[in-house]
């Protein structure tokens, strides 16, 4: 297998130039797909026979929840990469991704709470799925707090990488909580192996919305990483040229 891409990824300069090309297209595609998926779900998907139209919150809730978990998985992988190979880009990625993941977890929690009120009759229950997502949100906040509190950059990199890897243990708990424990929360909407439980007309816009959220997050994280690269590589010549040629 060819490992050149992996080595290239370790170079901030290469990543900056590569991501400058891709960030905007990916972001706008994500925004478009999100609008299509959510708009379709909101206006055109059939009404659920049990929940009526209240179920349409799903088109925000599920994508945000999927992203909250995926973002954390990526944090954990980046943390592992940093701990093993000391790759420069990994802490940059962690720092850029943590606020996005926190926002996604917050969206999942808030939309879930508003959805829970009319369907379960309560804003919140301390069941396994909800609580583990709350813990996920707190983990994100912990990583952000660590980065903002530690002044020594090398220590901050190391510490956030370690916390990111440790937090991975929460992911299987979230994933299987709906199967392991009796909860109010319904089982997963997405599965690679099984046919979706809901009809195609409901499921397809959801899939599009999820893809849209993914692209949106990828675009955003590229932008945030670029800012972070500029800040961290400020002593190099190419950053200086880039900044001085930039009109602000």
């Amino acid at each position: 297998m060819n490992w050149i891409w992996f080595h290239k990824l370790g170079s901030p300069k290469w990543f900056y130039q590569w991501s400058s090309k891709w960030a905007l297209p990916v972001f706008s595609m994500g925004l478009l797909a999100m609008l299509v998926g959510v708009g379709w779900g909101l206006g055109f998907a059939p009404t659920d026979y049990q929940q009526g139209d209240t179920y349409r919150i799903i088109y925000l809730h599920v994508p945000a929840a999927v992203l909250a978990e995926s973002c954390y998985l990526s944090l954990g992988v980046a943390g592992f990469v940093y701990l093993v190979w000391q790759m420069k880009m990994a802490p940059i990625f962690i720092k850029s991704m943590a606020p996005i993941g926190a926002a996604m977890a917050a969206i999942a929690l808030l939309s879930g709470a508003i959805w829970g009120k009319p369907t379960w009759g309560t804003w919140w229950v301390w069941d396994a799925r909800l609580t583990s997502v709350l813990v996920l949100f707190l983990l994100y906040m912990g990583i952000i707090a660590l980065q903002n509190t530690l002044e020594d950059a090398a220590l901050a990199n190391q510490a956030t990488a370690i916390v990111s890897v440790l937090g991975l243990i929460n992911l299987p708990i979230i994933k299987y909580s709906v199967n392991w424990w009796n909860t109010l929360h319904q089982p997963a909407s997405f599965s690679l192996t099984e046919k979706p439980a809901m009809p195609m007309e409901m499921w397809l816009p959801l899939l599009i919305a999820v893809i849209g959220f993914y692209c949106l997050v990828v675009g955003l994280v590229m932008w945030r990483m670029q800012s972070e690269i500029l800040l961290r590589e400020r002593r190099t010549q190419w950053v200086k040229e880039k900044v001085m040629n930039h009109g602000v």
Binding site: R224, L230, L231
Partner: protein, 58 residues
């Protein structure tokens, strides 16, 4: 279209307030996330520019 009228669409059957408040809230969070990203970039560039100009002066 899954709805017969605009009024139906706005009330979402029975729980329109819940559905629309979710969408509003999510819009708010996503917009502030995007705004934060754009502003963070501007701030870094402004900061670095000032720094380079100061360095080249001295």
């Amino acid at each position: 279209m899954a709805f017969n009228s605009l009024a139906d669409f706005l009330t979402m059957g029975t729980h329109g307030a819940f559905v629309w408040s979710t969408y509003g809230l999510v819009l708010l969070i996503l917009a502030s996330l995007i705004l934060n990203t754009v502003q963070g970039r501007r701030k870094v560039i402004r900061q670095l520019k000032k720094r380079y100009l100061r360095e080249s002066d001295s």
